[in-house]
């Protein structure tokens, strides 16, 4: 092993102007204050804004009023893409739903032959039309990236204003930082060939968000 760590820290210490003790309390304060920078404001309601921004990045949306409507919504979407009635999911709340007899639901992480996945968003950011997903047993990360058609269920009450709200929500959960936090804004894209945008580079070609409206909202 090299002693690079020591060398690097010595070089930094000899060059920065801070004196030890004081500095320790300065960084501790900074780390615990979670002070926000300027957060852009927008005039729309959260749901409206989320949908507006999602559509801007070529995501599609379907609103339903209850989880029980999900199988029909997923089936309809897959039909519209002209692909097989088959999904992979790991969300218990989803695979335990009443799926049609000829609909195949696999309960696991994604493999490369999976065409369509359904998973559940942890939250969403209205500012940018962004889905937030956490790696967990029920929401393995491969579901978000391997299949061509990525269907994500989002509860209306989980739409927040900004990324900063997500940090507060994660802290409130008090389970530490999840292993992976994905902020997903639209399907996969590339502009690496002559600066021309092409969807479906390596990740999903399509992103479809099914929003479960909050009871009581119109």
């Amino acid at each position: 092993m090299n002693n690079a760590r020591e060398e690097i820290f010595n070089r930094i210490k000899s060059k920065t102007r801070q004196n030890g003790q004081d500095a320790a309390s300065i960084i501790e304060r900074r780390l615990s204050a979670h002070q926000r920078g300027p957060v852009p404001v927008f005039p729309e309601e959260l749901l409206e804004r989320f949908i507006l921004k999602l559509k801007n990045v070529v995501g599609t949306v379907k609103e339903i009023s209850d989880m029980s409507e999900l199988p029909a919504a997923v089936s309809e979407y897959l039909s519209s893409l002209n692909v097989e009635q088959k999904i992979v999911t790991a969300v218990p709340e989803i695979h335990s739903l009443n799926w049609p007899a000829d609909f195949e639901v696999n309960n696991r992480a994604a493999i490369s032959s999976d065409l369509s996945s359904v998973t559940m968003a942890y939250a969403a950011v209205a500012e940018t039309g962004t889905l937030v997903l956490q790696a967990a047993k029920e929401t393995p990360t491969s579901l978000n990236f391997l299949p061509d058609n990525f269907i994500c269920v989002l509860k209306q009450q989980d739409i927040h204003t900004s990324m900063e709200d997500i940090w507060d929500a994660i802290r409130k959960d008090d389970k530490g930082m999840p292993r992976v936090v994905n902020f997903i804004t639209g399907p996969s894209r590339t502009a690496d060939v002559e600066q021309t945008i092409q969807l479906g580079a390596h990740g999903p070609r399509y992103l479809h968000v099914i929003i479960i409206r909050q009871a009581g909202s119109d």
Binding site: A4, I27, T130, V180, N182, D192, A201
Partner: protein, 479 residues
């Protein structure tokens, strides 16, 4: 890669007459500029965000050791390991060793400029591993065996046809034989070829746009999703990054992210922004079993004490490249190493030595656009000027080219002066630049006449150099 920055003059001259490159540059430049402008116009908070971003970076750099230590502790808590590399050779050794430990054969890579800086691919290949770039742009230049020509769009210099030809040659072995004509066909074929690599890789290497001290997170921003597949599917995830990328909190990261995507591609946020925190946990059903972070110094810690520390605020957005008249005229390869454009002209002489890269600080018209668009307001022209001063001081430059360059900068930064210049003055410039070919740049003046006329800092050295040169010229004529 080995630096070719010493050959800048010749490379720049070649670039100017490379027709397909000129076409590609023209196509790319306006796209970036227009998209960024639109994004900024829609962000009234831009100046406030910029002020905050500068504060975040200044603060972090002045407590860099403590934040790095805190970051390391958090990575360890989440089950990962941090490795430290003073030099690029050390970084190579660490990564090769980690790949050996993982019994790897195939290594997939997400885009990482620090990875380019440390020439990780060369080291992996020399050690017998198959290393595959998975960002489409990086993949294209890997097939072409070329360095990136832009820090966020590595294959920006390649035309559709050139890419189709490369795929034809290199994808034969995978039984892809169809003639590719459209962009969707090209992207699809790359998707299919690289899918196999993602699935079979033993190690995935990604970069990091930021490191979050508070949580020990490394994060990447991508549009393709290749970085996420690289990090998720193999058994081992290695992150290669550099020490200045650490920021204190998640909130600080959000500030920088708002500036990064808009400055880079004009997007409000990229398709994917992902925070990684250690290896697979007990309950996880996918994800890597091993998580390593390799942090490279490579001269950065030495930049802390002097004016160059400004450059450590760089978030690698590429805006200074896109708005630079010199970059727009010659593209990235002429600069000869991994970082081109104004940020590269500052960084390369620091990392490769002033002697190796002595022409780069002169590859500027001092139009000031780079500093103006830089989301961290890094005073790039001032830093370039300082390099020039050191070069003059160390006498690394010949007096003839010194004068030529000073003149060129003087004239170039004064479009009002340039346009009505008399033929004889142009001829004089031509004479001065004859050896270097440098004044073949003058026809590209239109790029900077469109930008603001800023005070030319080279004026003083121009005046004194001019007088000196006149005296010299006389004496040489008399010889």
């Amino acid at each position: 890669m080995k630096s070719k920055s010493h050959a800048f003059k010749q490379q720049a001259a070649d670039a100017l007459v490379n027709v397909s490159l000129q076409k590609a540059l023209l196509n790319a430049k306006d796209g970036f500029i227009v998209k960024r402008k639109k994004a900024m116009d829609e962000l009234p908070e831009f100046e406030r965000l910029r002020t905050k971003a500068i504060e975040i970076k200044e603060h972090t750099l002045s407590h860099l050791d403590q934040y790095l230590e805190y970051f390391e502790q958090q990575v360890i808590k989440s089950g990962g390991t941090v490795h430290w590399a003073s030099t690029t050779t050390q970084a190579q050794q660490i990564i090769v060793e980690l790949c050996k430990q993982a019994n790897a054969r195939t290594v997939t890579k997400g885009k990482s400029m620090v990875g380019e800086e440390a020439a990780i691919n060369d080291a992996l290949e020399a050690a017998g591993f198959e290393a595959i770039e998975t960002d489409l742009g990086e993949y294209i230049i890997q097939l072409a065996n070329e360095p990136p020509s832009h820090i966020i769009a590595p294959a920006i210099h390649k035309s559709k046809q050139e890419i189709a030809d490369l795929f034809k040659d290199h994808h034969k072995k995978y039984n892809f034989n169809s003639k590719l004509e459209t962009i969707p066909e090209i992207v699809n074929e790359a998707r299919e070829v690289l899918r196999e690599k993602f699935i079979n890789a033993d190690v995935g290497i990604t970069g990091a746009n930021f490191l979050v001290a508070e949580t020990g997170s490394t994060l990447i921003v991508t549009n393709e999703g290749n970085g996420d597949l690289t990090a998720t599917l193999p058994k081992t995830h290695i992150v290669i990054s550099s020490i200045e990328k650490v920021v204190p909190t998640l909130e600080d990261t959000s500030v920088l992210l708002r500036l990064l995507a808009r400055s880079a591609t004009g997007q409000e946020i990229t398709s994917y922004t992902t925070f990684f925190n250690g290896p697979k946990r007990n309950s996880d059903i996918d994800g890597p079993e091993n998580f390593h972070v390799v942090l490279l110094d490579n001269g950065r810690s030495n930049m802390l004490q002097n004016e160059n520390h400004e450059m450590l605020k760089c978030i690698h957005c590429g805006a200074c490249l896109n708005h630079c008249p010199v970059y727009s005229a010659i593209g990235g390869h002429a600069y000869g190493w991994v970082y081109p454009g104004p940020m590269g002209s500052v960084l390369t002489p620091i990392m490769q030595g002033l002697d190796e890269a002595k022409d780069l600080p002169f590859a500027s018209t001092f139009c000031g656009r780079c500093e103006e668009v830089c989301p961290l307001s890094i005073p790039l022209p001032k830093l370039l000027r300082q390099h020039r001063n050191h070069i003059h001081h160390d006498k690394l430059n010949t007096s003839r080219s010194r004068l030529g360059l000073a003149l060129w900068a003087f004239v170039a930064s004064r479009p009002a002066l340039y346009r009505p210049l008399s033929n004889s003055f142009i001829r004089a410039l031509g004479w001065l630049g004859k050896k270097s070919g440098r004044f073949s740049w003058l026809p590209f003046a239109s790029a900077w006449t469109q930008s603001k006329d800023l005070p030319a800092p080279a004026a003083q050295s121009f005046m004194s150099a001019w007088t000196q040169q006149q005296a010299k010229k006389k004496s040489s004529e008399n010889e």
